[in-house]
Symmetry: C2
Subunit: 366 residues, 2 copies
């Protein structure tokens, strides 16, 4: 662990101990809801960067009316662009890693954890990988096409013509993310920092990927980004699980490896043999946490998602491909949730992925 939460005198920002309190109810806001800046852990050794910043990938200009634009006259705006933030480590560089977040979340997923620890964005950078975090098209700093909403507001289009905007209720998220059981109690061995459940709830933001073309736009943008980077590992989480695989079907040479963290399934029966043959040229790692059999009252069943990915891995292997399925409890790690990148052992999970990458990417990396 590079991080410590110990008190540092003389520093304004990181000056108070984290207030920890085991909450019986998962959905209760953190008792330190108003003290976030004070709860951030701090690195023992400085992070040294050759570059830090952001850019957009993709996007296309469209003409919109004054009503659609909602401010001044009409004209051309750019839509469908993907926001990409990055850190480039100082010193030798390994293969770039692109981190893609899941549903109702943003790139924030991979930054500081809800309880103030280091996220994968910084950790992979510290491990000498240039690391890129995106916001899915339709969310966060990538924005969305506001025109359908403004048309409805102006009664120029029927209400059903604007897309459904998704969030997830805090209690349901914590059950679906397998932090706790349906009766609202955390699993005794959960690795998720339950005292910071309120902070995870803040990370869920409106998601416009339902019934819109934004999923397809994300696949395209990730393929384009991997080309611009001249090779990258694409890491997905949850809802974004299929994006790297489908990007790899388009630009197999620039996607060096695919890591799917807790996908909602692997489309084992969807891909054609030709597609599986293409995917067999890309090293693929799939990672699932614990409690896959925990009862779910609606939507995805995680044990079914896991079995679908087992079938997918079998098909890729039958095509002489390189696919691995990791189930953390089978490695002796108990209690991992759907939010593996935020769990207490998140850096241990990151190390699993990094070790796998080291064994499956060209040794020089770049």
């Amino acid at each position: 662990m590079l991080y410590t939460a110990e008190r540092k005198r003389g520093r304004r920002v990181i000056s108070r101990l984290m207030v920890l309190a085991g909450l019986a109810c998962l959905g209760a806001p953190s008792p330190s809801l108003a003290q976030d800046a004070a709860r951030l852990a701090q690195a023992r050794t400085p992070l040294k960067l050759d570059g830090v910043g952001s850019f957009y990938v993709g996007g296309r200009p469209v003409a919109q009316s004054p009503t659609e634009i909602g401010l001044y006259a009409g004209g051309s705006v750019i839509i469908d662009q993907m926001y990409v933030q990055y850190m480039l480590p100082a010193g030798p560089k390994k293969t770039p890693i692109v981190l893609v977040h899941g549903g109702v979340l943003s790139g924030k997923t991979y930054e500081t954890t809800p309880d103030g620890r280091m996220g994968w964005y910084e950790y992979f950078t510290r491990k000498q990988h240039p690391t890129y975090v995106v916001d899915q098209v339709g969310r966060g700093r990538s924005g969305f096409d506001q025109a359908p909403y403004n048309r409805v507001r102006a009664r120029e289009a029927p209400p059903a013509s604007q897309g459904n905007i998704r969030r997830v209720a805090t209690d349901i998220a914590l059950v679906r993310f397998r932090v706790g059981s349906a009766d609202g109690r955390p699993f005794p061995e959960t690795q998720f920092p339950v005292e910071a459940a309120g902070e995870l709830a803040k990370q869920t933001i409106p998601d416009l990927s339902d019934g819109s073309p934004s999923e397809e736009l994300n696949v395209r943008a990730l393929a384009l980004l991997s080309q611009q980077l001249e090779g990258a590992v694409l890491v997905s989480h949850s809802q974004s699980g299929r994006f790297p695989l489908e990007a790899a079907l388009r630009t197999p040479r620039t996607i060096r490896a695919v890591v799917s963290v807790e996908p909602p399934g692997c489309n084992a029966t969807v891909y054609s043999d030709a597609q599986i043959a293409q995917l067999s040229r890309v090293p693929i790692l799939i990672v699932f946490g614990d409690y896959l059999d925990a009862p779910q009252t609606m939507g995805i069943k995680w044990n079914e998602a896991y079995r679908d990915c087992m079938a997918f891995v079998a098909r890729v292997r039958a095509a002489n491909g390189n696919a691995t399925l990791l189930h953390t409890p089978e490695l002796g790690m108990r209690g991992n949730s759907h939010m593996l990148m935020q769990d207490r052992n998140n850096l241990q999970i990151a190390d699993l992925i990094l070790e796998w990458l080291d064994g499956h990417l060209p040794p020089a990396g770049r």
Copy 2:
């Protein structure tokens, strides 16, 4: 200048020269629209950080119906939280700086510039200020309350009950941001990197601050953030101009200074004498660029905004306050646009601000 755009062999990401082309038409997309990752400049010396990451400030739980949430069952979600990203420099630390973006933009404003140079986020960090960039409530990773839109979609509420969502057409932005004249030509001396106008257009994302309470929510969140940081300089841009001043009316002791970059006015006749007396306890710097008299066909007139700020400064000074108005052409700098933090001389402008801060903040800073 710490940055160079020269070719670096052996690096994948930053491997091609920027493609520069003087475009006659402001709104034309950049010719290198698909090469963003290749156009990023690189620091000569590594950036050393004690911390990097993000957190949310504020937010409150509200109960929403399944229709309002748009995914699974209803329940509690958190709304009105503000996303805050940060970099803490290694070594001695000066007063924290919080950077707030303007209308139709996000925190991206202060990261890498449209043409791939260093933004103020990194530059202020390199100058030993812990630096915080927010997304306004209602935008970017801060998200927005999706419930009114989903209610309208389900015909549970009339179309007019959902807020107008604002963007700005590219051509109009470039005229209003004083990059060029109303006939679509860049000003001959413009400091804005016109060849990257398409990249600026990508940064404009849907803005829900019109007709919603989000402006007030931003004032509250910034006041709370300055308290959490135990003192901060609040820097606004354009639309956010009044946020730091109004935050200072609420938490005058934790707002160490206010810097307003190109506000749309200073409410000179709006504040009461008692409010001006309160604001006279906070050092205030206001910065405007060039071409304030350039014709505008709609909305704010920049010369009127400037005169209003002159009147505001006069009132603060009459109350024995410390207020300064900088007009860059009067300092011998020609051609600055509304996007001073992205202009070619953006670091020179940053130095002006830093020098002023050094002269107006307690010497130890922290």
